[in-house]
């Protein structure tokens, strides 16, 4: 080993943290030159197709597989009965109350179907085409049952039952009462004493995660071992759960999430199809693959949101809030999936928003309906809560005849009051709501737009203008394990990382936080480049394979940087500590006399001495000259369990034009200032904000999973389920304030969900602000032109949409996409 003399006064290496690095992973992801699960081809691999129920609720009276079994290329056909003894139930890891009712969720229906699209049989064939061709040959007789679709009816008198083996449609009733918890006063008393009470019913419509890469699963059995490739957010959790469901021992099961094309919570699941693939592979001893179609995805992958919120707010006449009471009906769909009940319960702690409520009560009932289950979707509980509080604050402002911003300002937590414990019992870590708001007002050009709004009102312009606020916070960094334990969640919230120093000085970082498009490889490389003083390019990030990254809890809840990145930092600290001991040995100095800077150790006060950590990696590989008693490794592993959540916040402002003649709404300008703590990569943060805004705006304006009266999903293709593109969205004026999160070594707060959580109420508030003088006080989401027009001209909230899908291109709906042939297969004309 040579010690190279380097000029000490050389410029300090540029810090990687804070640099807008282009993402390492983008070239392969954007060009598709990578291995998605559906690209996997294994020798002898068989292909699955799932036969799905075309009816929402029925007893299965007869299953005839004969014709399908005899179809060309078909190896086997299974019904639910064939798997009844081994398929168990899709797990629900979050029993939110001790008496929560879980009806059980077979992967393939055995006796009863409870939603359109539920798996009823499985075809195994030599080719995907042969499997698909045989789907129509499966003949199942259904004895229809009454369909439960409307939550308010489902909890009413003499309601039909979604599951006849349980005695109501209620799964659980979760209550958080600040008075009982000791985090606030008596809520009933606060309302009894209040000078002003405003009550509203808000609807959080059902939406579909609509990730870009459809779900896909490959299972390869080898001896008594199984390897699963899956388009999943959670390979680690999936492995544990599949072991428990199928009885395949955990150490005989390896789960790999290769590059995954988005999830938004939609791949935070243990899916029926993943279980089915395991069961078929075990039974046949052959590798199998299943990849869904888009219409299968829309009808059978879990949905998000879907709450009816009855919100009461109490205040005095001056606008000081006195209490908040939230009664929630949360639609679970037909079954409980992994964290279905936990989603509204996560929201329970966010309904108070950034405001100092002295009293708070949250009461949520989880309800079964004959629809696909709901579960995590970007924000999971927090968008629902933020929508309710930011909408009701506007309604209170109207009631008090106050400026909505003044009302917020009067009640929000002041910068000097952090850390602040809310009535919901959470300790908010840091921030400055006033600063973010001021910055956002300037970005928007608030005063000018308000002046234009007045002009348009005075001239009775057919196009009216409104401005909407959302001053939000959210809890990120899921999660302190003990908090999850107190909420009866089935797992912890820590994250694991390890760092391997290779002989040539290159670095492998293993993370348990499995990305599905977020840019972990880039951000983690920046963290390690700074911590170890190695070039960004010398760092490789490994993830998503339980054999490579054995411990982890994966990616969701804006946790990866805050928890997973923190674990990487901790591991890097350990590497440096070990390397320091080696450096001291090689430099013949004491550890205390060594400085570590820019990747090199040097002896304090002795210019010219220096040993880089990359050189130490080679010295460790050789181990010829190593400290006595030290094992020849400077690799390290760390697990980080946060003690608190982190609390990003921000102010989002939307200026909205409403064409009162047609009801068409158009975002004129959107400005937001987010505080996500320390920013590691501004480009990634900006991208996350943009994507989040797109999804939050989409909930406000475009997206809704619509079921007809029979329980068919009529938004069964992207013709009717409207996901906006860049062409439909405005320019975003974004900014940041930075208040470091005290709870992790990076100071980051999390950004994955912020835009999605904050934007929806800002958009709706803006539209209402534009037309409130015309007598409109609420419009149901999404704000379709028809609803806006009806609210303006006919009163009310715009009402329900007709449920029929558009007739464009033949009107594809679940009736016709559930793999069942129909009369509609003879459309005329040239196409």
């Amino acid at each position: 080993m040579t010690l190279v003399e380097e000029p000490v006064a050389a410029q300090a290496p540029e810090a990687e943290i804070g640099k807008a690095r282009l993402r390492k992973e983008d070239a392969r992801l954007i060009t598709g030159k990578t291995t998605w699960t559906d690209n996997m081809v294994l020798p002898g691999m068989l292909h699955l197709a799932v036969v799905r129920s075309p009816v929402a609720h029925a007893k299965i009276t007869n299953v005839d597989l004969t014709a399908a079994q005899q179809a060309p290329g078909v190896i086997a056909v299974y019904s639910g009965r064939d798997f009844a003894d081994e398929q168990g139930s899709i797990p629900c890891a979050w029993p939110v109350t001790p008496d929560m009712v879980n009806p059980g969720h077979p992967s393939v229906a055995v006796e009863e179907v409870n939603h359109v699209g539920e798996a009823v049989a499985v075809i195994v064939a030599r080719s995907k085409t042969a499997a698909q061709d045989a789907v129509e040959l499966v003949d199942i007789d259904y004895d229809p049952l009454p369909v439960v679709l409307d939550m308010e009816k489902a909890v009413g008198q003499d309601a039909h039952l979604c599951h006849d083996h349980i005695d109501s449609n209620e799964s659980f009733n979760f209550v958080f009462d600040a008075g009982e918890a000791g985090t606030g006063g008596n809520t009933e008393q606060a309302f009894a004493d209040a000078e002003v009470v405003v009550s509203r019913r808000f609807v959080q419509q059902r939406v579909i995660p609509a990730f870009m890469e459809p779900r896909s699963v490959v299972v390869q059995p080898q001896g008594d071992n199984y390897t699963m490739w899956a388009a999943t957010q959670i390979p680690h959790i999936l492995r544990v759960m599949l072991a428990m469901i199928t009885g395949v021992p955990e150490h005989k099961l390896r789960v790999i999430a290769p590059d995954v094309g988005g999830g938004f919570g939609g791949k935070l699941q243990v899916t029926p199809e993943e279980v089915i693939c395991m069961l078929v592979a075990r039974r046949l001893g052959k590798p199998v693959k299943w990849t869904e179609t888009r219409s299968e995805s829309l009808m059978s992958a879990h949905h998000g949101r879907d709450q009816i919120q009855y919100i009461d707010i109490a205040s005095d006449r001056e606008g000081n809030v006195k209490g908040l009471r939230c009664r929630i009906l949360a639609d679970m769909g037909a079954y409980l999936r992994l964290v279905s009940p936990g989603v509204p319960v996560l929201g329970a702690f966010m309904f108070v928003g950034i405001y100092k409520f002295p009293a708070y009560r949250f009461d949520c009932r989880g309800i079964f309906t004959n629809k696909v289950p709901t579960d995590a979707y970007r924000g999971a509980g927090r968008p629902e809560a933020t929508f309710a509080i930011e909408r009701i604050m506007d309604e209170l402002a109207v009631e008090l005849d106050m400026d909505p911003l003044e009302l917020r300002r009067k009640n929000w937590i002041k910068a000097e009051e952090f850390p602040f414990t809310t009535a919901a019992g959470l300790e908010y870590d840091s921030g400055d709501y006033e600063q973010a708001t001021q910055q956002a007002l300037e970005l928007l050009g608030y005063d000018e737009l308000r002046a234009e709004q007045r002009r348009r009102r005075e001239s009775n312009d057919p196009v009216q203008l409104g401005i909407g606020f959302s001053t939000f916070t959210e809890m990120c960094g899921l999660a302190p394990s003990r908090v999850l334990g107190s909420l009866a969640y089935g797992a912890g919230g820590w994250e694991n990382a390890s760092i391997r120093m290779l002989p040539t000085g290159k670095v492998e970082v293993v993370t348990g936080s499995t990305p599905h498009g977020q840019g972990h490889e880039t951000a983690w490389s920046q963290l390690v480049a700074d911590s170890l003083g190695v070039p960004f390019e010398d760092v490789e990030v490994l993830h998503g394979d339980t054999a490579i990254s054995p411990r982890g809890l994966d990616t969701y809840g804006s946790r990866s940087l805050v928890v997973g990145g923190a674990a990487v930092m901790k591991a890097a600290d350990k590497v440096v500590a070990k390397a320091r001991r080696v450096a001291a040995h090689l430099l013949e100095a004491s550890e205390e006399d060594l400085d570590f800077s820019g990747g090199s150790f040097s002896v304090r006060g002795t210019p010219g001495t220096g040993l880089s950590i990359q050189e130490i990696a080679l010295a460790t590989f050789a181990a010829h000259n190593f400290p006595d008693g030290m094992e020849p490794s400077i690799d390290a592993e760390a697990t980080f369990d946060p003690v608190n959540f982190s609390f990003p916040h921000g102010t989002h402002l939307c200026a909205m034009e409403v064409d009162t003649e047609t009801g068409m709404v158009k975002i004129r300008k959107y400005a937001c200032v987010d505080d996500v703590g320390i920013v590691v990569n501004p480009l990634i943060v900006e991208g996350q904000v943009h994507g989040g805004l797109a999804q939050g705006i989409a909930q406000a304006l475009y997206e809704e999973a619509v079921y007809d009266a029979d329980g068919n999903l009529t938004t069964g293709t992207f013709v009717d389920y409207l996901v906006p593109s860049a062409a439909d969205l405005p320019h975003f004026d974004t900014g940041n304030t930075v208040h470091a999160a005290p709870g992790n070594p990076i100071g980051a707060k999390g950004v994955g969900e912020a835009g999605c959580i904050a934007s929806t109420p800002a958009v709706v508030n803006a539209a209402l602000d534009a037309v409130r003088h015309l007598g409109v006080s609420d419009i149901l989401m999404p704000l379709t032109p028809e609803r806006v027009w009806r609210a303006i001209h006919q009163g009310g909230d715009g009402g329900d949409r007709a449920t029929a899908g558009t007739n464009a291109y033949g009107g594809a709906q679940t009736e016709t996409t559930a793999g069942v042939s129909t009369d509609a297969s003879s459309l005329g004309g040239d196409r």
Binding site: T662, E786, A802, A804, Y809, T816, G829, R831
Partner: protein, 285 residues
């Protein structure tokens, strides 16, 4: 998303195409770009025995000047329509409406004739063809016939094309006089079908509206002419008031559907607003 098995023919001439259709069996579908046919086949809403792909029939492509009309080959792609100089000169309404069809990728494959023969009531081009009094030249094994636009669109996804026939070209009569044109489309996201749209042609003479032709998209199972509006716009002063009054007739004789995008009464309202706007622009007001 895998179609049922089908036979596939890719002729290179119109005659070959007609032969392929004739010998293709019971259920033959003609593919003229495939931007609607392939999705419905992948969803198995359609399962034809044979698909006859017209992509290689060169004589069906292109736009030519034929004296008192321009003639658009049925297989001229949307993107070629948008950039065609003859269309820009004589029927810019077609280019304007075509620019609103779906997205760039679809416009590179989808064709003018394919969209017309598909006759999707939410499609943009049928109402435009109707407003322009286009003529449809149809070839069969027995020869050719020409059908006026008013008789071409028969019902939902149904045209005057008989089994074994092929739409080969569309004749757009040149318009004498000073005409303004506008296509007013109303939809929720950029690539979506029309909820309602209005194609307006207005001939002006010295500050007056001499005549107008109004085509309505998605106001019934077929494209429609708003004849009440047209009647109200014969030789009237070109003012906002007269246009607004005429537009009030836009929903007469329509039978719009109710679906996720709008119930029938809302579509009727939209037809009036959009007609007023379309005529206003077309009349240069």
């Amino acid at each position: 998303m895998i179609p049922a098995a089908f036979a596939y023919a890719r002729p290179t001439t119109i005659d070959e195409a007609l032969q392929a259709v004739a010998s293709g069996g019971e259920d033959v579908k003609i593919m003229a770009g495939g931007q609607s046919l392939i999705p419905v086949m992948r969803l198995r809403l359609a399962a034809p025995e044979t698909v006859v792909d017209l992509t290689k029939v060169a004589e069906l492509r292109g736009v030519r000047d034929d004296g008192d009309a321009i003639v658009i080959g049925a297989m001229t792609t949307h993107s070629d329509v948008i950039s065609d100089p003859l269309i820009a000169q004589h029927a810019p309404l077609i280019a304007e409406a075509t620019e609103t069809v779906a997205d760039r990728q679809v416009r590179h494959r989808g064709t003018f004739g394919g969209a017309l023969a598909h006759a999707d009531p939410a499609g943009d081009l049928p109402a435009v063809a109707l407003a322009l009094d286009a003529e449809f030249v149809i070839a069969g094994l027995g020869g050719r016939r020409t059908v006026p636009a008013a008789e071409f669109f028969v019902d939902y996804l149904t045209t005057a094309l008989a089994e074994g026939e092929l739409l080969v070209e569309i004749r757009i009569p040149k318009l004498p006089g000073t005409w303004g044109m506008h296509y007013e489309k109303f939809n929720r996201v950029a690539q979506a079908w029309s909820i309602v749209a209005v194609a307006a042609l207005v001939r002006t003479e010295g500050g007056r509206i001499a005549e107008a032709r109004i085509g309505l998209t998605n106001m019934g199972p077929t494209p429609l002419r708003a004849s009440g509006v047209e009647a109200a716009l014969v030789d009237v002063e070109a003012t906002a008031e007269s246009v607004a009054a005429a537009a009030e007739h836009a929903a007469e004789g329509t039978s719009p559907s109710s679906d996720l995008n709008g119930q029938a009464d809302y579509r009727e309202h939209l037809a009036k607003v959009l007609t007023r706007r379309a005529v206003t622009v077309a009349a240069g007001l």
